[in-house]
Every structure is written in structure tokens, then in C-alpha cells.
């Protein structure tokens, strides 16, 4: 039996109060405050009515607007109830967004958060090993020395000249 939206709202009510939800083509999204994220995660994972025991994915969205530019997205799945939900957490900082690390709830959040940090530059507080994931460690703007995050909306699609070196064609 799938878990209903109302049941999840009831489980979340003691932690987050009234939760804003969005439903689209049968996918339910819950908007959660940054401060409540960890507690809500623990509750959704362990409460017998929800039992969201599988973290499928973590990513982020760069909305590129002045307020709440970045939004974290968590996709959870309950093996017991075969239900899939999505949590969204708006981050209020513009340039250096920070978010509590979900590794406190799900161990496998480790690499997903590293990937999100690599692509969007979101700092996860409490992450055990926050390093770049795909891009080289020294992926910075060659002129200013600022680290680059390629999935941000203000990053040029073709990259920045000289930020990723290639070998010489005719060495010596």
C-alpha cells in the first residue's frame, strides 16, 4: 500500500508544522525548511507509517533568481510501501549556499553530496569528506582563482579557456 500524502504530512507535522506540497503527474514534492531537514529525514526514515529507507538521489537546482537561488532536491523511496517522494529544500544564501549534510540520516548521501558540491558549490555542513567529485581538484578560473561550479547558470557552456589543461601536442 502506497503511503498517502496526508499520512506523510501527519508524520512531518510535529517537526515542520504545515508542510507545503506540490503534486505533479502523481509525484509528490514536500517543501522543507533547511533547519528541519535532518530531523524530518530521520522521522521519514524510521516512522513505521512512512519507512523511507532508501535514498535514491540528491541533486540541486540553480533557479538563478535573487531569493532562494539554489534548491536542494532529495528523492526518497520506501521499499516497504513502494512509494517515491521528493523533498525540496530552498537555500537562502546567494553565492555560498550551505546546507546540513544528509549523511547524518543516510550514509549513501556522501557521494551524492560530493557531486552536488562539485557541480553547484553548495557546502554541506557535517559532511565527512567534502571534495570535488568529477572535476579536477584545482578547477578554478585561471584569471581570478575562484573555484568554478559548472552546473551553475552563470557558468558558460563551453567552459572557461585555460581552466582545464590538456597535454601538449608536440612535447619538446
Amino acid at each position: 500500500m502506497a503511503v498517502t500524502k496526508e499520512a506523510i504530512c501527519e508524520v512531518l507535522a510535529p517537526i515542520c508544522g504545515t508542510v507545503q506540497t506540490v503534486e505533479h503527474h502523481g509525484d509528490i514534492t514536500f517543501l522543507i525548511d533547511k533547519g528541519d531537514l535532518i530531523e524530518a529525514g530521520h522521522e521519514l526514515k524510521s516512522h513505521p507509517r512512512t519507512l523511507f529507507n532508501l535514498l535514491i538521489d540528491i541533486t540541486a537546482i540553480d533557479q538563478y533568481r535573487r531569493k532562494n537561488r539554489f534548491e536542494m532536491v532529495y528523492i526518497l523511496f520506501s521499499l516497504d510501501h513502494s512509494t517515491r517522494i521528493r523533498l525540496k529544500v530552498p537555500l537562502d544564501e546567494y553565492d555560498e549556499p550551505r546546507c546540513p549534510s544528509f549523511t547524518a540520516v543516510y550514509e549513501n548521501a556522501n557521494w551524492y553530496e560530493r557531486e552536488t558540491y562539485d557541480m553547484y558549490g553548495i557546502i554541506f555542513d557535517g559532511h565527512p569528506d567534502l571534495r570535488r567529485f568529477y572535476m579536477p581538484e584545482d578547477f578554478v578560473d585561471p584569471e581570478t582563482g575562484d573555484p568554478l561550479y559548472p552546473l551553475r547558470k552563470d557558468f558558460p557552456v563551453m567552459g572557461i579557456q585555460g581552466s582545464l589543461p590538456i597535454p601538449e601536442k608536440n612535447p619538446m
Binding site: 568529477y134 572535476m135 579536477p136 559548472p150 557558468f155 558558460p156 557552456v157 563551453m158 567552459g159 572557461i160 582545464l164 589543461p165 590538456i166 597535454p167 601538449e168 601536442k169
Partner: protein
């Protein structure tokens, strides 16, 4: 007169070292399969029974660059990977040839983005480009034959290893 009749009549043929070297080089191109994405599947089909590269002496896929003389780069080369590709190329002994298989490798293809090198000729000398996404194994076979033609037309690289030293001749004796 064919080679067989000449051999039957005289018991020997006269040729040049260069011709022999070219013939030997082009009929035993040992590929180093650098299958780094989807094109690799078609590259494997090249050695399969249908396109059977053994007919051209290229069935011996070497997984060590030190034993290969034909580098088949089959797949998307990212900036991070470019160093590895170059290192493998550098490890291959001379003379060596390079096939850029697929549009990704040749020009970046559909990956017009920050992470993909827009053509491996930016850091490697390429002999043959093969278009297609992925190219059919027949196209790769054509590429192989083009390299053979190229070897046929060019002056062979003959590396003088020098006379063996005393200890070496003792070792081989």
C-alpha cells in the same frame, strides 16, 4: 607473374628492405583498444566473426600499449581523460598510428560542452578520422585499410637497434 610462380621457378625473390618492412608493418597492425565509451562496442565488433579484422592481420588486440602500434581511440575524451590518452599514446613504441573513432573523438560530437575535448587532434597526431555515432564496424575496417594504404605510400620507419653488445649476444646464444 605472381609471387608463387616466381618462387617456384627461382626459389627466391628480390625486393628491398623498405618494401619488406612496409609489408610487415601494414599486415600486422596490432591495435590498442582505448574503448572509453559507447563506440567501444562497435570496435569490439571489428574483431568479431562478421567484420573479422583477422583478415587484415589486426585481430591481436593488445591491452598493453607497449605491444601495440595502432591506437584506436573509441569514445568521448574528457579533459580529465585526455592526460591518460596521451600517456598511453606516449607509451606505444614507434612507429605508431592513431584512429579517431566516432564524432566524439574527432570533434567532440554532440558533447559541445565544458568537459569534453573538442577533437583529440588538439593533443594527439591523428591519422584517420571516422565519422558516425557510432561508426559501423565496416567503417572502422575502412579506417584500418586507409592506414594500411598510408603505410604503403610512406617511407617506413626502420629503427636501427645497433649491433648487439657482447653480453646480449651471449644471452641470446
Amino acid at each position: 607473374m605472381g609471387l608463387n610462380e616466381t618462387l617456384e621457378r627461382d626459389g627466391f625473390v628480390v625486393t628491398t628492405i623498405e618494401a619488406i618492412a612496409k609489408w610487415a608493418q601494414k599486415s600486422a597492425l596490432w591495435p590498442m583498444p582505448l574503448g572509453i565509451s559507447c563506440c567501444a562496442i562497435e570496435m569490439m565488433a571489428l574483431a568479431g566473426p562478421r567484420t573479422d579484422s583477422a583478415r587484415f592481420g589486426s585481430e591481436v588486440f593488445r591491452f598493453s600499449p607497449r605491444q601495440a602500434d595502432l591506437l584506436i581511440v573509441a569514445g568521448t575524451v574528457t579533459y580529465k581523460m585526455s592526460w591518460v590518452v596521451r600517456k598511453i599514446y606516449d607509451q606505444m613504441p614507434d612507429p605508431k598510428w592513431v584512429i579517431a573513432m566516432g564524432v566524439c573523438t574527432s570533434t567532440g560530437g554532440m558533447f559541445r560542452s565544458y568537459s569534453v575535448v573538442q577533437g583529440i587532434d588538439q593533443f594527439l597526431p591523428v591519422d584517420v578520422y571516422i565519422g558516425g555515432c557510432p561508426p559501423r564496424p565496416e567503417a572502422l575496417l575502412k579506417g584500418l585499410m586507409t592506414i594500411q594504404d598510408k603505410i604503403d605510400r610512406s617511407k617506413p620507419t626502420i629503427i636501427d637497434m645497433g649491433k648487439p653488445t657482447l653480453s646480449e649476444s651471449l644471452l641470446t646464444a
